[in-house]
Amino acid sequence: MPELLIRNGYVFDPLNGIEGERMDIAVKDGKIVESVGRKARVLDASGMTVMPGGVDIHSHIAGSKANCARMMRPEDHSKDPEPKTRHTRSGVGHTIPSVFTTGYRYARMGYTTVFEPATPPLKARHTHEELNDIPIIDKGCFPLFGNNWFVMEYVKQGRIKELAAYVAWMLEATKGYAIKIVNPGGIEAWRWGGNLRHLDDTVPNFDVTPREIVRALCQVNKILDLPHAVHIHPNGLSEPGNYQTTLDTMECARDFRREGRTTMHVTHAQFTGRKGWSWPDVRSGAPEIADYVNAHDHVSIDPGQLIFTNVTWMTADGPAMFALYKLAKTKWFNADVEAETGAGIVSATYKKSNYVNAMQWGIALELALLVKDPWKVYLTTDHPNGGPFTSYPRVISWLVSNQARQRLLDKINKTAKRRLNLPGIDREYSLYEIATITRAATAKSLGLVSKGHLGSGADADIAIYDIEPKKIDPVKEYKAVRKAFAHAAYTIKDGRTVVKKGEVVRSVQGRTFWTKPKVSDDIMKTMIADLEAKFDDYYTVRMANYPIEERYLTASQMITTNAGV
């Protein structure tokens, strides 16, 4: 691989404290280095903005759920075909793009790493088949633990060490990266058509509470020293008044502090940040949630920004999806997974004129703007729930420009506009803060040491945007900012140029990150004995057929940790 010198760009590298300095970035063998030789290829980035490749912490891009949605929604694809080119395979968009298109569209925006946030462990093999097929970007997936029978039984018995061993075994078996919790206990209740809305409700037949599940898994996360926080989608998704459950969830595991890292990440907080008692009465819970995040260091959030467009809702939260289907009356898919979790999918359209939709849009922006520290709030649309990931540039334009927000505020539902705090918030993100919430902070939260920065030794994943920070005023020229972030001038993946002028010029294979915590043999043995005793009773596949072997991953990237048990 030839050496590369990216010359004279305005570099934004928040992890190294570099804010728009004009400097050169040297690349050798797919890594950032201090300097390169005279023969290095030179890429002239004069007048352009250079950032680390984007890192998305939460985007439903692969697996059983995404594919059920693709199958259910041909009308979503037919209007957005992606023809093959000399360098790329064909495919379709729009809210649930096919796999090749997913990789290309992320790369075009300068994103190089994306995490799929909700993998049913039993169906993880499917997730990895799709992740293998997504070109260019690095990726990983978060297996679901919040309604798992073994988890709930260990929690009930108070056997935290065995639970830690089980989570370690499962991460290796599913080639998963982090612990994901969705509606703890509520999906088990959905087995009988029920749901759990509060942290101290009881899971039917298992006699544990969501609080106990969340606490135990946060403790396990600390014991296993996993790179990422526990990634949580709290109970009561989308219901009016659910902000209190979100606050309770954040507070409930505060004591499991991790040095220099967060304990939990509360995802798509817009969907669980609502005050009020009924739909017409929905109010923003963003100020309370933001206040809590501002006052505490153990938690981070992402808003799950809403976009006024057609979307596909998909989540492991089966009961929440059925509740929303009853409102949307469109198409509903449900897919429960034995002894583990569930899934729901609904097609929907967000409208500016709709009071609740307009509130959601505003709550998400309030969350992003009221959390003061950009290291605690990350850019997501909870793709494809709030909007497709291709809307990120639009969200960026709202964050950098109050004018852009005000323009849209004038068009949304009047009551929503009156009740939101958003009209009174004039904070505007700098490009440095944008670089933080889209790559530096997400990479840090995920514990990916070679991602999200441009220091020596980092992976040479680089995005170059056609923005001259000295000349452009993002507040006024937000449309130009949006355009630049939608079509990177260059995207470089592992030192290779994959995108030029917003078009894919080369396709490469990205890696799949997964975590292998090392647990002591004794505890592992005890846990395996428990597992063997029950596995055939709980599952319809044999234990020997359950784990995914490493050779199954086209480009496997294992991260090991040393567990404290």
Binding site: R73, H77, R89, R125, R191, Y325, N334
Partner: protein, 406 residues
């Protein structure tokens, strides 16, 4: 292979007949007869046929691995063809139904653990899925349902099948009366009065009784087969069944699972969907995927006489397709990639023998409920016989080397 332990009748026959009527050498038609040739020559001939075709069809896929299906889609895109799988002739209407009404489903283990009411509609698992009742439904042992007594079974069919003999209630519906009966059940469940005295041969009292059984269960599961998808109404039938189950979720928990047949037909849908957006009948002639069953589905495209070459992998359309389609199929060059002699391989221009998945070749397959499993290689294939994935990969390379004509 002499004997197989722990297999169902279908699995046992897959193994014990694996050496019967095998194709062992690549064949190419010369002077009207299929004659042995080398692998390289057979692949070259196949690549030339595909390259020269204006509207090639790549068909089959349900008896092979996801890895091979993936190669098939790549090849179809490369030569600008139409790729379709056997869904087109079995559960295609199910997918169309789902695209209209959605689907409330789950993995089979959930049904084993929880279902206290099982409905088999237009399917006969005692013969088609011999382990189904033992492993997943009435005779299985789950967490919340332990024995036969914990579950009720309703069978709806046009005749008293062997599955019907196990039922607590057997409902004999008039042939092609499924849509009517499903709609009547929905009417009853939604609390409306039915005016007729009989619905598709079923007394209205029985309809109401079945509706009540469905509403009063704690966890119901409806399985349906080709009796629903391939009788009059087709995707309207499946849509009605899917909507019935959806409506039932307003009053209790209910799921629906299509009884897919072919070995890995679910996998064929999955791979096709994640790579092209569409589960079957995908037209790649324009350089991007198009899906319009009836237009882009294999049988229709052949019957219209538009397809001018066919690559058939792990399937036998000459036996299975309607006569009109077969008539045209026999006029065009067929490339058959197949372990055994079939009417399709006999009619082919090029025959490439392949290894049997799950016996002689490994690969990913999907269960009917979307759980991906790895099929393993148990014995070596006959000498010189390759797995589908390798054959297709070689074909892709050859097509690229020759350079696509259009």
């Amino acid at each position: 292979m002499d004997s197989v332990r722990n297999g169902c009748a279908i699995s046992v026959s897959r193994f014990t007949t694996s050496d019967k009527s095998r194709l062992l050498k690549p064949l190419v038609r010369k002077g009207g007869k299929l004659r042995p040739t080398t692998f390289a020559r057979a692949v070259d001939r196949a690549a030339r046929i595909l390259n020269n075709a204006k509207y090639p069809l790549l068909y089959g896929w349900s008896q092979t691995s996801c890895e091979a299906i993936s190669k098939g889609i790549e090849l179809a895109e490369l030569v600008g063809g139409l790729i379709d799988n056997t869904t087109t002739s079995c559960h295609g209407p199910t997918i169309l139904g789902v695209q209209d009404a959605g689907e409330a489903t789950c993995t089979l283990g959930e049904i084993r653990h929880s279902a206290d009411l099982v409905v088999y509609w237009g399917c006969n698992p005692v013969h088609s899925h011999p382990r189904h009742t033992n492993r997943y439904t009435i005779f299985s042992k789950g967490r919340f349902r332990k024995t036969r007594k914990d579950r009720k079974l309703i069978v709806v069919d046009v005749r008293k099948t062997d599955t019907a003999k196990l039922a607590d209630r057997f409902i004999q519906v008039e042939p092609n009366g499924d849509y009517e009966l499903l709609t009547a059940l929905r009417t009853a469940i939604n609390g409306e009065e039915i005016e007729q005295d009989t619905i598709a041969g079923v007394p209205v009292e029985t309809v109401e009784e079945i509706a009540n059984m469905m509403m009063e269960c704690e966890f119901g599961a409806l399985f349906f087969g080709l009796g629903l998808t391939m009788s009059a109404g087709k995707h309207r039938n499946t849509e009605a069944a899917l909507a019935l189950v959806r409506d039932l979720n307003y009053v209790t928990k209910f799921v629906i699972v299509p009884m897919r047949g072919w070995f890995n037909v679910t996998g064929a849908n999955e791979v096709s969907t994640w790579q092209t957006g569409y589960p079957y009948a995908v037209d790649l002639t324009q350089g991007y995927p198009r899906f319009n069953p009836g237009d882009t589905s294999a049988i229709d495209a052949i019957a219209r006489g538009e397809v001018d070459a066919a690559l058939v992998v792990a399937s036998d359309p000459v036996s299975h397709f309607p006569r009109e389609a077969v008539k045209h199929l026999l006029k065009i060059p067929i490339i058959a990639v197949e372990p055994k002699r079939t009417p399709t391989s006999e009619a082919a221009e090029v025959v490439i023998p392949s290894a049997i998945l799950g016996v002689e070749a490994a690969g990913t397959i999907y269960r009917i409920d979307g759980v991906a499993l790895e099929a393993r290689r148990v014995i070596a294939p006959p000498v010189g016989v390759r797995p589908d994935v390798e054959i297709l990969d070689t074909m892709i390379k050859r097509v690229k080397k020759l350079g696509v004509k259009h």
